[in-house]
Amino acid sequence: MNIVIIGNGITGITCARNIRKLNSNASITVISEETEHFFSRTALMYIYMGHMKFEHTKPYEDWFWSKNRINLIKAYVKTLNTKDKILLFDNGKSIAYDKLIIASGSKPNKFGWPGENLNGVQGLYSIQDLEEMEKNTKNISSAVLVGGGLIGIEMAEMLHSRSIKVIMFVRENLYWRNVLPQSESQLIGKHIAGHGIDLRFNIELKEIISDDRNRVAGVITNTGETIECQFVGLTAGVKPNIEFLEKNEIETERGILINECFETSIPDVYAAGDCAQFRRPKSGEPAIEQLWYTGKMQAETLAKTICGDKSDYNRGIWFNSAKFFDIEYQTYGQVLPEINDQQKSFYWEHPNGKHAFRANYNNTDESILGFNFIGIRFRQIIAEEWIRERKTIGFVIQNLKKGWFDPEFSKAFYNDISHSYLQSLKFDFMNNKTLES
């Protein structure tokens, strides 16, 4: 069996590794135009900030690939001939496959803003983007970031580490409000602002203006304000990187359309990770999953299918994490930005504004639905177990200590949380009494 994988990100590489684990005979080839070896994309920011060098971001030593007989090719796939099962590279060479996996990842969103292709305007996704950012931010003093998501905050932290003034446009009225409930949004927003980032809420980009050398000189907002800057970061999300499939018969929409087994519309061609779009996403789950974790989990399932054990993708209980400057965030299960009328929510926040906890639960049987932890580390295995077993909010609050994952000697907040929960019960009880009388 001759397996060819396009893309050496977390999805492509996890596929290759897992296929090798399940099948010691298959020929496995991974193609990338970005780098020769797999590196951790999530660590790009740390290279810029000087925490690590590029070498440190490689999760495997260079000998790993030949030892595990995973062939690496650095080239750009120009055309894909699915009839004859051959890929053509831009360097004129080609490669045949029995099974093809497309894991080509994402690229930064651009929305047709005037001036979005000026020098000094860029997104951040690839190592090439990072190299460009290094050049674009040499000796500059101020930058504007368009979009306040996770890449936005990374870029803010990067620029801030070099004492570059950062103004960040946020479309919503609070930071990351399309994902976080209001209290968490406020807390994180305050923390970011405390680091000197100038957050501008309800502001969108209208136009990027240039100097006489085709370089960014500033931006104009939707409110008509002009802001001078020497760098613009486009951080309003990413989209599937599928341009190289344009003239191909593989069915695409926003991403490459796939079923639950990652099969595309063409036999023996599979797609997974950021570039893939589920035809029929499960209820409450997005059609395109653009996370490190989901890329890894998708790849693990796909590897089974490729090796003959046809498996459905089951993402399981949702989890994600992030870091906003010095505040860590972990979420498990379902915590929507607004609860619906079948849900209730309990929220606790430390007076210092650096730690918070939220538990959402069912209105009727009080079973737990999801958690937000801010400035608190919590065991994934415990959180998932409680959600899976539909434990009640009362049980969860009483047993928080079991899942506490903060370092030894650090001040634990589970007693504060439980105290605050009991207070809220008392408060509810009193309220009901008042209503009854």
């Binding site: 900030m49 690590m52 046809k310 899976r388």
Partner: protein
């Protein structure tokens, strides 16, 4: 808006405090060199206060930006800084430190002027004039106290780091500097209660044991203490807490690595090859010292009839190669190039013993939190023992490695809260995290 330059700007990026700190430290070194060439002998007290005062104030100034900055990881610019990333400055410091060790060990008479500046302190503490080892002990302790303060400032939000740093500072100052000096003043054997066989190998050599026992009740207690610590306390403490109870909480070598060596922790080699070399070397040293000790006792029991002088030669060579060259010259002198734990990782027989317990019989582990690792590499980069922490974390495996000294920095630098140092039940510590969805995927 707050002052950007102080919040997370890289140390050494030109903060006036740090420039002042570096300047004062340079003056302290300059004064030491001047003292060495004679003036130290003529004006010991003046040079003593000059040197110590300049070192301390240099350290305080250097740490001020850390104290003033917001709590959080302070690793900005480390890879671009010549001091911390094996640049010209790093090589300069390595040569300076290596040179100091060589002169200290084999040509101490060149340090005469500097040694004399320590006379006032030595007479006060020990009741006798200074020698090269007192000078070394004083500088060593000073380095741990000053750089310990810097470490506490850098990790001021972590109580684990604050407490264990205070612990190493306390054991160095109290048990490895003041107490031995005080014992000497009382005409008792100069004994270090915080070092045990096989690190302080001579403590269980027949000569030392005989000498201690003959010196009186306190000496008998010292021998007893050494035996208890080596054979009873070490296994029990390591079973319950891992080898960290010693390596990053008590030991003086560890103390220097954690404080003076902290700026260089990222330079330890993480390759599989380095791990192989490490296992061969550190366990060979352990075998060497166990054999040497056994031979010495056998020889002493048979009154020298078995080997004659051969076992004495054995222990002399061990002292030269391991005690001096490895632990001193290479172990500390090469900090800026090979990372802060070269000796602990490749050469320390105590670390080897503790490591064997930790790997095979201990409750200690670094727990990986489920499937949360994003493979960024911060943990591996900042592991001073050269453990590729990420290799375990990204597979959902706990990190159980003989070499781990439990410094806790991997857990601190992890941006996703994936790692935690824990003493839990021994059972199941090697279990891997597997998503339940992985085990019962719907089959078609």
């Amino acid at each position: 808006m707050e002052d950007i330059s102080l919040s997370i700007a890289p140390p050494s990026a030109g903060s006036p405090f740090q420039k002042a700190g570096a300047t004062l430290t340079a003056f302290a070194i300059l004064c030491s060199i001047i003292a060495t060439f004679g003036p130290g002998k003529a004006h010991p007290l003046l040079f003593f206060f000059l040197i110590i005062g300049l070192f301390i104030s240099g350290g305080i100034f250097y740490s001020i930006p850390y104290f003033k900055a917001k709590a959080g990881i302070k690793n900005n610019g480390i890879m671009q800084n010549a001091l911390s990333s094996r640049g010209a400055v790093a090589w300069g410091i390595a040569i300076l430190m290596t040179g100091f060790y060589i002169i200290l060990y084999w040509f101490p008479y060149y340090l005469e002027g500097l040694i004399r500046t320590m006379d006032p302190l030595s007479i006060m503490l020990r009741g006798k004039i200074s020698d090269q080892w007192f000078l070394y002990g004083a500088f060593y302790t000073l380095a741990i106290l000053i750089m310990g303060m810097r470490f506490i400032a850098k990790y001021k939000y972590s109580r684990y780091h604050i407490i264990r740093t205070i612990s190493v500072m306390f054991f160095q100052l109290g048990f490895a500097f003041l107490l031995p000096a005080f014992l000497l003043k009382l005409n008792q054997p100069e004994f270090y209660f915080s070092y045990f066989w096989p690190l302080k190998y001579s403590y269980l050599f027949p000569n030392d044991v005989d000498y201690l026992i003959q010196s009186g009740n306190l000496g008998v207690f010292m021998v007893f203490w050494g035996l208890v610590m080596t054979f009873i306390a070490t296994p029990i403490l390591t079973y319950n807490f891992g080898k960290r109870w010693y390596c990053s909480w008590v030991c003086g070598c560890g103390a220097l690595a954690e404080t003076l060596g902290d700026p260089y922790r990222q330079n330890s080699d993480k390759s599989l090859k380095a791990w192989k070399i490490e296992r061969w070397m550190v366990h060979s040293v352990l075998v060497f010292i166990v054999l040497t000790t056994a031979l010495l006792w056998l020889n002493s029991w048979k009154s020298g009839t078995i080997l004659g002088d051969a076992s004495g030669l054995f222990s002399q060579w061990y002292g030269f190669l391991i005690g001096a060259v490895f632990s001193g010259v290479i172990g500390t002198g090469f900090y800026p190039i090979m990372g802060s734990r070269v000796w602990c990782r490749f050469g320390c027989p105590m670390a080897a013993v503790l490591g064997l317990f930790q790997r095979f019989k201990s409750k200690f582990r670094i727990t990986t939190n489920g499937g949360q690792c994003i493979s960024c590499g911060n943990c591996s980069t900042y592991c001073e023992m050269g453990i590729d922490v990420r290799a375990y974390a990204q597979k959902g495996e706990n990190i159980i490695r003989a070499s781990c000294v439990g410094c806790g920095v991997c857990s601190s630098v992890c941006p996703r809260g994936v790692l935690n140092l824990e003493n839990l039940a021994e059972e199941g510590r090697f279990d891997k995290y597997i998503r339940p969805e992985e085990t019962n995927t719907d089959r078609i």
